[in-house]
Symmetry: C2
Subunit: 410 residues, 2 copies
Amino acid sequence: MHDRRHRTVRDLRRGNRAAVLWSLYFDRPCSRQDLSAATGLSPASVTNVVRELLAEGIVAEAGSQDSDGGRPRVLLDVRPEYGFVVGADVGETRVRVGLYDLALTEHAKAEYPLDPAEQRVDVVVRAIADGLRAVLADAGVSPTQVLGVGVGVPGIVEQGREALVHGQTYGWDAVPMERLLRAHTDLPLRFENCAKTMGQAELWFGAGRGARNAAVVLIGSGVGAALISGGSMYLGTTSSAGEWGHTTIVAGGRRCRCGSDGCLEAYVGAEAILDRFGAAEASGFGTSGSGTPATGTEEAALATLVATAGSSPAATALLTQTAYYLGIGIANLINLFNPERVILGGWAGLLLGDRLLVAIRESAGRHSLRRPFAAASIELGELGPEAVTLGAATLPLAHFLDGAARRQTS
Amino acid sequence: MHDRRHRTVRDLRRGNRAAVLWSLYFDRPCSRQDLSAATGLSPASVTNVVRELLAEGIVAEAGSQDSDGGRPRVLLDVRPEYGFVVGADVGETRVRVGLYDLALTEHAKAEYPLDPAEQRVDVVVRAIADGLRAVLADAGVSPTQVLGVGVGVPGIVEQGREALVHGQTYGWDAVPMERLLRAHTDLPLRFENCAKTMGQAELWFGAGRGARNAAVVLIGSGVGAALISGGSMYLGTTSSAGEWGHTTIVAGGRRCRCGSDGCLEAYVGAEAILDRFGAAEASGFGTSGSGTPATGTEEAALATLVATAGSSPAATALLTQTAYYLGIGIANLINLFNPERVILGGWAGLLLGDRLLVAIRESAGRHSLRRPFAAASIELGELGPEAVTLGAATLPLAHFLDGAARRQTS
DNA sequence: ACCGTTGTTTTGAGTCTTGAAACAACGAGG
DNA sequence: CCTCGTTGTTTCAAGACTCAAAACAACGGT
């Protein structure tokens, strides 16, 4: 109950410094006055903090802006080249690594294919390490300039002294990812579930900008969600919160690959949609069995399905039904969480949402209570597939803004 | 994003004072050393803060405790008689008001029946005002000794400059409860949904003690939930979070009184259970129609139903099914929230849980993912029907512990 | 050149926490 | 009975920080 732990007066300083940095980062560029207004600090304190940030080279003055009549405001901005962050995305078929500066513009990227049939941890770790080396070499950036590395992994991340990864679908059980990767680099490492990572990207730079309570809903082959409460990711007790895909919406319904039945994922996951279509058509695209096709194939199949929807009544009916179920899943989120925004993302989510957003909204409205529904807007994600890498890069960046991380060289 | 707003160095003091008070309140009695350890403050600062609290009469020394060999620890405790708080519970059939001291021991209570057929706001407000006067007179407590009044209302509370209440079932729409009650008293008022209020009571004093992430699930005639995240109530954007009862668990299922269908409430709410039983038996207890019976009747009917379960196969089957559905609802919470504890409460919840807890756990286990399920314990609430009043009293108390509230006289 | 306006910095005062040292209250052992 | 070691609490001086007010700076208009 109540974790209030502002100890020393020095922590106060750190806190105020963080407040200024966060403010500046998300409202860039802005003047000292703006910062004063945004943080509630006195102009004097802002001057102090900013002086420090200027001296450290983290922010720089960036021109000025006329004020009506008086002294012009000096605009401040984050100096993108102060440092770099690395984001890595461990997907089902490939490992992607990106190098970003402080403004999160990409400076280099690398990609390594994985064998979708078996995801061996050592292969993944080696790919990340290789990617790290590659992007640094590519952009001519020295490791000393890197603030940290963030990794988005499929599965639950148990944050402890060393991050452990539990990947249900990959058969990973308490894999000591951090220790394994530590063998290849001394940089600060952070791990997070890739759905949460992607959610954070949408929250910071996509459709979720400015939201304090939001749900980012991700539909790919499987289904997941990231819950944002009070402006930051909600993790839960063992940081496995957000398993929306295995929420039951049809008691006694279709069998799900998780072993339960009636899960949302068994109706709106890409694999499930194709499965259902296959069962209905008993022919055509998709997989009728349970084998996981390469994502590329799955993606093409679903795209074709969506495209045919105009002409094929069977496809239309299926999609209508999918929107119905998806609306129910979203309505449940709205009733439980009362978010101000629900963002639909993931490759399949974007594909479906493009065509079905109206139907989804309608179904969600019918299945949720009036007031919470009225408070929530349902929108499409704005970020593409690079969102996971970007979101991963966000992890060390957040720590930097909090004032914890510094560059290795002092 | 990030609300960091520790302005002045004085706020720091207030924060540390609050940290000490909360610590002491929930680990009572304890020594200055314990407080130092619990809050992370230096012994010197604890002494300072405690000196202040002693001078104000909020805490008092309460004996001492031998230390092995050295100076004995002086035990500190909250002085219960420093002030009082009032809690009011607006139920479907009655208004209950309780007067509590700082230690939340009851000093007086009052109850006023309501006509269950129509809940007129002015009647409710008058009952609360009468109850307030009555409990104060009864215990011989002057209003100047009262720190505040908390009210638990059925419906969504919109916290603004003045609390507004939206009671779906009562036909209350944006009722300015605070303004209405303000006409009768000058005391600080706080309003909250009664499910959240009850949840807070369980969290502080019942089965939820010490939990940081928990879900308190309430089953009465209707169904609701209170979500606790990071040790405090999660409210959502328009403070209507936790509408678990109207979460869909059977797409296209039974019609619910909210207008949607397949809601959890339509399966496990007391009214719904009796309804289903009536439909199955086409005779016996319960109501076969949709009219809301007086709660007393409903309560008796459900108790009878549960009692017959041993002998009547129909009743047994119905309860088994109810446990199945309830387990699904709980599993959904576990998957989404990853709480460390799920607490089953409400009069019907306790009645059912008493007999069905094992079956409910089993169903929840089958419908949730392994890891989050393993992290969550499912337990019965420990508090009786007075929990709402107690929880309501908790609202002004929390503000007092935060250092905001003082007694009116200085 | 002067004035009003607006943005930023300096200054002096006031608060707060803290580590170290002092102080207090006990049991044990001579 | 006195001393000593131990443990819990308080005092004290130093250091850190924010803030309000005042000073300063940079502009347009007249």
